[in-house]
Structure formats: C-alpha cells, structure tokens
Amino acid sequence: MTDGLTMTSEGRPDLKEAGDRKHLPSFGPAILQTGLVVAACALFVIAKSIATGGRVHIDDVEYWIVGVVPVALLYGLSLLIARATPEARRDAVARRLIAAWIVTLILFCISKDLHIYEGLRDAVETVAQLGRSAAEAVVALLFAALAAMITMTKLVAEAGDRLRLAIGTLAAIILMTGMASLLLSWH
C-alpha cells in the first residue's frame, strides 16, 4: 500500500538515527518533548508546595514558569556535553538529564510524604555535624546522584568517551543539587 510517496530511511535522517529503536520517528529535541517538560514543571510545583508547607498549589502559574528554568539549564548542559563528546547524541543526553531532575524531585516528594526525609536529614545533621541548610543540600546531592545513576549509567557505560560523559554527568548532579537548594529552599 502506497500513496505514491516512498518514504525511506535514507530520506529521513531522524528515522535512520532511530533505526535501532524499531524505526520509530524521533520526537524532536528534548526541550520540545512536552511530556517531559510538563512532568518536570508539575513535579517542581508539588515539591515547592511541600517545601513551603503547603503555601504553593498546582494552580500557581508563576511556579510553573520557574519550573522551566531547571529544564532549560539541563538542556543547555546537554548541548555542552554533546559538543565535548561528539558521539553522544544531544537529545539522548538531554532526555536523560531532564529525567534525572524528574527523579530527583520524585525522590524528594515521596521521601517527604512518607516522612523518611526528616530522618535522613537529621542523620546527616548528626553525623556530619552540619546545620539544617547544609544537611538539606547534602540530601539533595544524594537524591541527585541517585537519580543520575538511574538515568545516566547505561549511557555512560556504552559511550566511547566515558570520562567526558561522566564529567558532564557530575556537572549535572552539581547543577541539580544547586537548583534544588536554591529554587526549592528545602527548609
């Protein structure tokens, strides 16, 4: 069955690139993948609500806008990583970094809702003899590192230039920790 137009992978670079993914078409740049961006923004608003003791709600549009900032920064970082490691596909890195941010927020929200977070934070405060803000930054670092391990390990392991991609991932972890501490003010 054909409508007269022959569509082959030769004529569609995106299809060729995605050939190993059962010939599914690419969904475009990660920043334009609405589902990821909306999920990241919605989770940011919920995390902000939790961090502020319920003062922020899902209908607070300004926090949706602020929630785009981490996604944009991670996308920018993925461009830098793709430039430093040419073999790494930009969109693949961006998707995984945004997914790592989403996982970080999920870990925060669930640990708060299950009241595991307080125990973790208190343990860090006691063991490392830190203040509340510093302990929360350490917990944010733990969440970001765990999230990055979940989403980036396979990509780094399969990459030819592992060192550069690992350094890029480390930079993403630091960026996510900073964003979590600054934007959420987890205290």
Binding site: V45, I46, A47, K48, S49, I50, G53, G54, V56, H57, I58, D59, D60, C109, I110, K112, D113, L114, H115, E118, G119, H187
Partner: protein, 292 residues
Amino acid sequence: MRKLTRATSFQLFAVALAWVAPSGHASAEADICTPVAQLMNGFIAQELFYWDPDTKTWAAVPDGGLSLSGGEAQLIYVTREFFQDEPRSGAIVVKTGRKIDTSEKDPEPARKKIKLDRAKQAEFDSCRGREPSSFDGRVSALEYDRYHDYGYDASDNEDGRSLGEFHTRYVSRSGRCDAATDSTTFDAPLRWDWRSNRSQFSFDPSVVSGGFHSQIMAGLSIRGAAAVGSVGLADQRVDIIKYRTNAQKMACIALRVKPTGRNFFIRVNDLEGAPKGGRLIRADELSRQLTR
C-alpha cells in the same frame, strides 16, 4: 446524654484537687487514682471521670457526652498499662475546643489562634531537649494544622518557633528519653498504621485515626482546597502532660476544663497508651462532648 453517679468519698476528691497545677492541669499522682480506680472497667485502657457536684461523686463521662450544670468541670483522665508490669512513663495530649454553630461566623484558620500550654513538671525535667521547661503561648490555627495535619516542617517564623518550644521530649515505654511529642515516625507502616505522635495533635479525627494527609495531594489541590482540622472550631487549646504509671499500672491526671459554650469537646490522646490485646497498638483518641 446521661449522668452517671457512683459513690466515692469527697475527702479523696479534696486530696486530688490539691494536686491541680496552676495551669489547670495536674501531674499524675497515686492519690488521684484512689477515688476512680474502682470505677475503671477491667478491660479498657483509658477513661475520663468527672466530679458531679450534685451527688458529690466521681463518675465516668459517658460516650455520648455530658451536660454540665456548673461553669467548670473537674475531670480525671485515667490510663492503664496492660503490657508492662513495671511502672512506665508517657505523655498525653489534651485538646479542647468548641464546634462553631451554623449561625456563627467561622474565621479563616490563618486568623484563628490555638492556645498551647505545657506546664512545668519538675519531675520530668531530666528528659527534654532544647525546648524550655514549660510553654504557654498561641499559634495560628493554619500553622498548627499544617504542622500536625500534614506533617510539614515548622515555618521559620514566630509560630514555627512556638511549635518547636511547645513540643518536648519524654520518656517512652522503653524507659529511655528517646521519644518526641512531635515525632513523625509511623507506628507500623507495614501493617498500614500511618499514625504518629505528631498526628495525634491534629483536630481532624481522620488524621488522628489514620495519619497525616498527603503532602503530594495537597500540592496537587488548587489554592484553598486543602483541608485543615481547625475549620469549624473555636476556643481551641492543646496541653501536653507527662505522666508515670503507679504500682497499680495506672496513671491518673487531674484536669480542669471550662466549657465555653455548646458543642464543647475534650479529646485526649495517650502517646504511649495501648489497649489490651496481643499486639502493642496505639490507643484510639478518647473524645467526649461537654455541654454547658
């Protein structure tokens, strides 16, 4: 509603009143137990008794509530230990308030104040953290509800600091000074028991019996839609009283309550109390209505 009458001596009541603290609440003393011990049902873990000035006797406050003729009610809360033979320590939360009539305006929770009181109990002073030995103050109902209904962190403001000073550490049934009245540790999450010490302070009975509301669901709700326990309530007051059971494995705490109108209630939560049974499970809230 009905009034119960049982014969006990007025002299013993006078002894009990002698222990009433200036704040209106008393420490647990063996003498206070004497007039009410014989009235305790052998199977129940907690009971609330009142002094009937007409019959001059102590009687259990009925489940359906109590109609008071005088302005102030003299009460004794009794908690009984079923699991340990040796005396143990604990703490109770006493919440009083009044349900607002439909004709009365209910202020926004942010404008309402809840009185918090924790009297100095020198005998328990060795077990407390950074908080002062006593606390007497007020916090906004909204801040109180966020802290106790949802388990949010206390805010970095005057109300948040007041909550931190109000709550205290106490000696748990383990015998160690390892319990905090605002602990968020779930009782038994694997058995689906999401209650915690902090949730017992809530004015929302569903939070007391089932644990905190979800913070995630609250974030997903639109502004103003999240439930708080103080809606529809007035004249709210919360007290923390530490106790130690006696040789008869009971602790009796004298309370003075002044109902401020119709639909006045008293709710008592024993943070270490457990009903008789094979498994150590937190006792339910004891809730009674006191109508003037």
